[in-house]
């Protein structure tokens, strides 16, 4: 059923990663992502993967859950690897030569690099951010990080509020979609028509009620928010105060070290090559 899908899933906990300030985590993820693309040899990539695994251990989230989250992107990973293996050409002698199909050593190396990159990227960023940061804290973090943009008249608060409301209503609307589909099925609606136009038409009985309901909800929510004295971020305070702590400083120190190590490892291969 639709409601089994969980968007931006969060696993509550009290690990070191959970306790970091969301702003720190957002910055760390950005650093991590950049580093993943900086890494260009076996040493630095291995280091990245090890870092990702260490992060999983730090988060206290079971490896099983992490592996399950990779499943949906497995096809993508395999596809990229295969393309790399078959389409890379090199001046070396091919390892395998079957007429049209030639596989070079470089191709296999590229494929392995690609797999490690994607895996580190997914594991690292989800463990650092989505798994260990509740949506509301994440939104808070984004809002406060982008605060300087307010001076440029970017409606940062409004975007954050929009995100919060969207996150709040995703489960409600998914449940509602389920219900509408069942109700229309009970009236004999078929969703297996042929042809694009007919297919689109078949979905109108679901889409129209869903939109009407979403607008009605929006209307009612707006009135309810007004009744609770909402007037944008004018004079607004927050219950949860974000404060950088020593933990965040440690995290930043580690990330600087992390960049240094990657750059160094990148250097090793150049040194070895010479």
């Amino acid at each position: 059923m639709l409601k089994d899908i969980t968007l931006g899933q969060y696993f509550s906990g009290d690990s070191a990663l959970h306790r970091l300030d969301p702003r720190t985590k957002i910055i760390l993820v950005l650093i991590y992502v950049v580093t993943v693309f900086l890494a260009k040899n076996l040493f630095s990539l291995t280091f990245l993967l090890v870092t990702a695994i260490v992060l999983v251990a730090l988060s206290g989230i079971s490896a099983k859950i992490v592996l399950r989250s990779i499943k949906p992107v497995m096809i993508l990973i395999i596809f990229t690897a295969v393309i790399n293996i078959f389409l890379t050409t090199s001046t070396d002698a091919p390892l395998i030569n079957w007429g049209v199909i030639k596989i070079y050593k470089q191709g296999i190396v590229n494929a392995v690099f690609m797999i490690v990159r994607i895996l580190s990227l997914i594991i690292g960023s989800s463990v650092l951010l989505t798994y260990t940061t509740s949506p509301i804290t994440l939104t808070d973090g984004i809002e406060r990080l982008l605060k300087p943009l307010k001076k440029l008249h970017v409606p940062v608060h409004d975007f954050a509020m929009m995100m919060t409301i969207a996150l709040r209503f995703i489960p409600t609307l998914l449940e509602e979609t389920d219900k509408i589909i069942s109700a229309q099925k009970a009236r004999g609606a078929g969703f297996d028509s042929k042809g694009l136009v007919n297919k689109a038409k078949a979905f109108l009985p679901i889409l129209i009620p869903l939109f009407v309901s979403a607008f009605r909800r929006a209307d009612e929510l707006a009135v309810a928010m007004e009744c609770r004295c909402y007037r944008g971020d004018e004079g607004r305070t927050r219950m949860r105060v974000l404060k950088y702590s020593s933990k965040d400083a440690v995290a930043f120190a580690f990330s600087v070290l992390f960049i240094l190590v990657v750059v160094l490892l990148n250097g090793i291969s150049t040194a070895l090559a010479i």
Binding site: S182, A183, A186, R187, G188, A189
Partner: protein, 284 residues
């Protein structure tokens, strides 16, 4: 007319996940033809699951749902045909309206049955009159109507399929007393003129006392007791055990009976209570 039966039906939500939950366990129900049966129970008693099993929207984990003796999921049988024979009105059905006009919305079901246009028009008009939808509204957009009117249009949409059996999940939820009476009276009229079987899902003993012929009380995915309204109201203790509220008048007459003042077990209408008390007072 058609006969609907649940045979040792169990239903498990999200099997093999941490959210696994047994909604029904080994339930057998035989719905009597041409009668209004009320299925009542607390939220989570399994009553809404029963509704969706009856027309094949859900498939039982074990056991069978039989329509005229035939398993609705038997190989070769077409479940969508079952849905035309067993009409299901969901809770808050007004949220399923989508067409440009009221007429077209009521006609959605019959159109899916591929009936000819004259027959569709006849059915729409007939269903509208039972559900209490004025023909003046036919060309209006369903979204312009009041809440009560929308509800009646949605119910007409199922009645227009002229099913042998009609299942309604809390058809009066959220309506005021007037709206509630209009809906239930329409359903009664429909049953009388079509000889069809009606199944009402409800959590109000008071409503069911007034509008149902038979009652099935459910709790924790099982049938606690069933019978005619009179029979079920004889077992007030069982009703209380299911966590449902008994009507005020039943509570009062039970107490008076317990004290030996009147002979009034299982009274559920003010008329009857008045009659019994008057009788007892005159005897003194």
């Amino acid at each position: 007319m058609s006969k609907l039966t649940l045979e040792n039906v169990s239903y498990v939500y999200s099997p093999d996940t941490p959210f696994e939950k047994e909604a029904l366990s080994n339930v057998s129900i035989e719905f009597k033809e041409n009668r209004i049966t009320g299925i009542i129970g607390h939220t989570g008693s399994g009553k809404s699951t029963v509704a969706q099993l009856l027309n094949g929207l859900l498939k039982s984990t074990s056991g069978r749902v039989l329509l005229d003796g035939q398993d609705i999921f038997e190989k070769g049988s077409d479940v969508s045909k079952v849905r035309f024979r067993v009409g299901l009105v969901f809770q808050y059905p007004e949220y399923q309206l989508f067409e440009e006009t009221v007429w077209r919305d009521i006609a959605f079901g019959p159109s899916n049955m591929k009936l000819d246009p004259n027959e569709i028009d006849r059915r729409v008009r007939s269903a509208a009159s039972f559900a209490g939808v004025d023909e003046e509204l036919f060309e209006k957009s369903p979204f312009e109507l009041s809440g009560g009117q929308k509800r009646r249009v949605a119910i007409a949409g199922i009645m227009a399929m002229e099913p042998d059996i009609i299942v309604l999940d809390e058809p009066a939820a959220g309506l005021d007393p007037r709206g509630r009476d209009e809906i239930f009276n329409g359903i009664k009229k429909w049953r009388d003129s079509h000889n069809s079987t009606v199944i009402l899902i409800s959590h109000s003993m008071e409503d069911m006392a007034l509008y149902a012929d038979d009652i099935i009380v459910m709790k924790d995915g099982k049938v606690l007791t069933s019978g005619t309204v009179d029979q079920v109201f004889q077992r007030v203790d069982v009703i209380k055990q299911s966590g449902l509220d008994i009507p005020q008048i039943t509570a009062v007459t039970e107490e008076l009976t317990k004290r030996g003042l009147i002979d009034g077990n299982g009274i559920y209408t003010v008329d009857k209570a008045y009659e019994k008390i008057l009788e007892a007072l005159k005897e003194r």
